[in-house]
Symmetry: none
């Protein structure tokens, strides 16, 4: 049983030159994937007739559906409608209802100016096209089938594009007979290759579910996708395989389907009616940033003391001057004092402290770059942990922030 | 003489499904465009042998150069090397020097664990491939010519990908006898179309230098590339045009060639022997994070008070309880009190305060989402500024952090 094949064609010199990134397709792909469509190919070409026509012809022979974006506007580099006619071997026609619409639209926006002639070019579509309109703009979307493929031609402006995808294209694509269910299991504390090894026996025993892997440093994600003739079968296959994977992965799985690590931990803290405050040195606010980028985090995130300097460790957190002199900032007593000082000053339920050497400078033989002391202070007292991280400055900082969150995750497990 | 044709092939189910957006190609396209390469097509395919092989074969017949990204890792969905061999009709071989490299790399990272066998798969490359290595990862890049096209196969991890593009691929693309000198002028406070307009007369008068544009929110970058038969000529042309551009752009240019905005400001603060401390509310540590991700920032960054809650604004910064009650946290008096409280407590030369509504919730008719009060406190007193930013939560937070840095940039201009 095969799912319908979907392709994207993106046109535009600006995309080709890297002036703008194509964000339309990623968004649309993420919407179509769970609906059971096999997205097979995206082709990006510039504003060249030869390249657009070639891309359309290739796709026409290969795909069931294609969304084409860009090149429907009024200017001389808007070639897509003419290219569609050429690729399909049909003439162009002027769509009179859209001409009327353009006149009315123009009169509303600029009542005292005549409509420029090139504006009306937007009503020229291939003879066999079905005009789909555009509630937010002057370039009409249209649909057109040639060879194997039903094409949807859409304006490239993201707001117009997404509304037409959502309101017109997706309802047309949905067919009975193919259902997909998917899940992403997000893991922390395991390498991608180890993750692959751990689930390999399950993957081999269950070809009805597709396995995918993705690294989002320092996390690794496992995606599972089940395609079946009906929802019940797809859900059953997915549930069976997900359960097996969760059994072998245990608490390496921290969350699913797009939650962030900070959000997963924060949600558990919020559910307990508790709060977090951070005391950061080498991470310089990164941990707090990860916590507060979550919408609604003000419920459980009190804030942070980012004490980068010795002086601020003393004045803002009350770390004793003699302790810093005797042990240095990267030491167990200082990590402990930072966590305890933050708790006393903030009144938060949990405080997390991080003090380490993120590099590239500042390492010594006894405390090389990557040496990080972590501390957590909560209702049951204070716990510390010494970690040695590898990588560049950014990676050491990120691992340190995750390490601190992991202490909290374990404390409230 | 026609410009060489360049294509990109991007592989990966996660890109196809929209789980991650392909940001590599836009960045590379913006680098290659000013060098005179005609970027003709980007093809994105999933982790399917049939699709990858087809894409490689089509490109091999059509392009002079192709950068292929993704699918070189150790897991079962990493198929690209085998597909390259199949498309070119050559067998695979194990690259022994890379096996040695992998063993050494693993021994350094995890000395007490044996290397997993699938990790060594990364040393398997097509027989005719030239291994290019990878300074930052375990999957080696390789180059390989078949039919018309010289292919560069690169890991998809952005950090690894970009370094190999810059250090290995671009020097190879330049023809012998051609010297390139380039400069990126990084601007803040100007839109892309305005930037284009401002430099248009210079661009038209100086065809010997190519102009490119790129948006890196909220910054806009202008890249200048001079190509000449020798270094002296390229450098002279570049210097001449750069000077003209700097004259029209003035202090919209904050830096060049990859410096960050925070780093540019921090360097000037450091040169004056001064220090910065932040008092952040809605940005939740983002500003401090931007400052401290700069290596060596401990010289001039004291740290921050991230006072997300009312309570922490009072206890950590001494903002009066009655002031918060009367004016609300997002108000001029509170921004001022945060900046002044941070300066009194940290002893830093400059303090920057941010308090606003990042959304998506929390807006009111008087203070809609995007309302942000900024304050700077320094040797000459305190200045405040009201800003109204547009965009989603992340964009509002980022613009707020930039807005605060801009206050400091102006104060020390």
């Amino acid at each position: 049983m095969s799912a319908p094949i979907v392709e994207f064609i993106v046109t535009g010199d600006e995309v080709m030159r890297g002036i703008i990134a194509d964000t339309n397709t990623a968004m649309t792909a993420s919407r179509l994937y769970p609906l059971g469509f096999a997205l097979r190919r995206t082709v990006v070409v510039g504003d060249r007739e030869e390249d657009i026509v070639a891309a359309l012809r290739e796709t026409a022979a290969r795909a069931d559906f294609c969304i084409v974006s860009g090149g429907l506007g009024p200017t001389s580099d808007d070639l897509t409608a003419a290219c569609a006619a050429k690729a399909a071997g049909v003439p162009m026609r002027r769509h009179e209802p859209w001409i009327e619409h353009l006149h009315k639209r123009w009169a509303k926006i600029r009542p005292n100016e005549p409509i420029p002639p090139n504006n009306l070019r937007q009503a020229d579509v291939p003879e066999t096209a079905e005009v789909l309109g555009n509630p937010d703009g002057s370039a009409p979307a249209f649909a057109m089938k040639f060879q194997r493929c039903l094409f949807f031609f859409l304006p490239g402006v993201p707001r117009e594009y997404h509304r037409i995808v959502q309101e017109v294209v997706i309802p047309r694509l949905l067919q009975p007979g193919v259902v997909l269910r998917s899940r992403i299991l997000q893991c922390y504390g395991v390498t991608e290759s180890k993750l692959d090894q751990m689930v390999a026996p399950i993957r081999e025993a269950h070809p009805e579910v597709r396995f995918g892997f993705r690294t989002k440093f320092p996390e690794n994600h496992l995606s599972l996708a089940a395609i079946a003739p009906d929802a019940a079968a797809a859900e059953a296959a997915l549930a069976r395989v997900e359960k097996l994977c969760r059994e072998v992965l245990g608490d390496l799985v921290y969350g699913q389907d797009g939650v962030t690590f900070a959000q997963a931990v924060g949600d558990r803290v919020a559910a307990r009616g508790e709060t977090i405050c951070c005391a950061e040195s080498c991470t310089g606010g990164l941990l707090t940033q990860l916590l507060t980028e979550v919408p609604g985090s003000s419920r459980w995130s009190a804030g942070a003391f980012v004490t980068y300097s010795y002086e601020l460790k003393e004045t803002a957190l009350g770390v004793p001057h003699e302790m810093l002199q005797k042990h240095g900032a990267v030491s167990e007593p200082v990590a402990r004092a930072m966590a305890e000082g933050a708790r006393a000053r903030s009144g938060a339920t949990w405080t997390l402290a991080i003090t380490g050497i993120a590099g590239p400078d500042g390492g010594t033989p006894e405390k090389p770059v990557g040496t990080v002391w972590l501390a957590i202070c909560g209702p049951g007292g204070t716990t510390t942990k010494l970690a040695h991280y590898r990588g560049d400055r950014g990676q050491i900082r990120m691992q340190s922030a995750y390490g601190a969150l992991q202490l909290l995750r374990q404390a409230i497990a």
